[in-house]
């Protein structure tokens, strides 16, 4: 079984890499198996469909990213320091991707939301769960900052959604312009959206 589970990992790894670069629709299972170096016939032994593989890639990617988000957002520091670290790590991650692949790959969840959400309900549902979980995690930090009277935003759910939306929108532009430095304004915008008090910062303040 060591051998077969190794083939499954190879298929998953190849699919993850190909999806990050070219999306989901343009890929075929034969191409994925070729990139994975496994016989084409073995695909359906491990995955019942391309959609099942897509879900497995999403789940694996979120399991890793979730650990990062939890480490950063549930640490000991002040709430806004933790949130700032999330933005810094996001920028660093996109910069590292750009350096290793030559292009900013963007956010897999955002990419698939726009590519797929209107034509596979199973993947749409999974992406909704992932973004709900992200908003939950950000909302908790926002609520803590609000309790400390460090921000003025009253509806912490709407504020957390706006923060994640700003992140997705800026990552979209970083990908389109292939320029991860575009992300360095995100934190200022986040503070403005939250109505952060001490900083008095808005999008345009250096």
């Amino acid at each position: 079984m060591g051998r077969t589970s190794n083939a499954r990992e190879k298929i998953l790894g190849a699919a993850r890499s190909l999806m990050a670069q070219r999306g989901y629709s343009a890929l075929g299972t034969a191409e994925i198996c070729k990139a994975a170096g496994v016989p084409k016939g073995s695909f359906y032994y491990f995955f019942e469909s391309k959609e099942a593989l897509g879900l497995a890639v999403l789940d694996e990617h979120w399991a890793m990213q979730r650990k990062d988000w939890e480490r950063v957002l549930t640490g000991d520091g002040a709430p806004l320091d933790r949130l700032r670290l999330l933005f810094e790590e996001t920028e660093a991650g996109q910069r590292a991707g750009q350096e290793s692949c030559g292009t900013v790959l963007g956010c897999m969840f955002g990419n698939l939301s726009l590519e797929l959400s209107n034509h596979t309900e199973v993947i749409r549902g999974r992406l909704q769960e992932i973004f709900d979980a992200q908003v939950d995690m950000v909302q908790e930090v926002v609520a803590q900052a609000r309790q400390r009277a460090e921000i003025t935003a009253e509806d912490t759910r709407d504020a957390a959604r706006a923060v994640v939306a700003q992140l997705e929108g800026q990552v979209l532009f970083a990908k389109l312009y292939n320029d991860s430095t575009r992300l360095n304004v995100m934190w200022r915008n986040c503070l403005a959206i939250l109505g952060a008090k001490a900083s008095g910062e808005t999008a345009g303040v250096a």
Copy 2:
């Protein structure tokens, strides 16, 4: 020639509708011609490639949207009133799409940015031009609001980019959750990003 130009319009219309629903990669020229009701062989008489058709769809869509943006953003009202109207019309447009198609279709430019920007440089370049033009138009209104001391954002370019990024991010979520009412918080977030003075609003203020 009346007949041939009519066929070109039919291909364009079918491609636009199919791309809005299913993206670009998943489409084939045969399918587009079938939906357009024109002979498959006529495709290359009008378009030299699928990519050329994709560009034509983008150009046509932006020509229409640009007129709407110009009408709204260069009107006589106060700058922030004009910007607010842009957000209201965006929300109304997504709501109308949801009512007629059953699903929120999102922003064609955002959709294609995430689906395609890393694998067709020609389309990436065109999308960059379109978003540059959008940011230019928003920046002009933001600069006018700044001149009237109605907002505190100092770098009007960064602020305009953040406003368009917030719009794209929220439209992404409206599409993913198939819920156009998610867009009704956009204006509050926009005011917060700009550091609007009179309102004192932030993302969470009702």
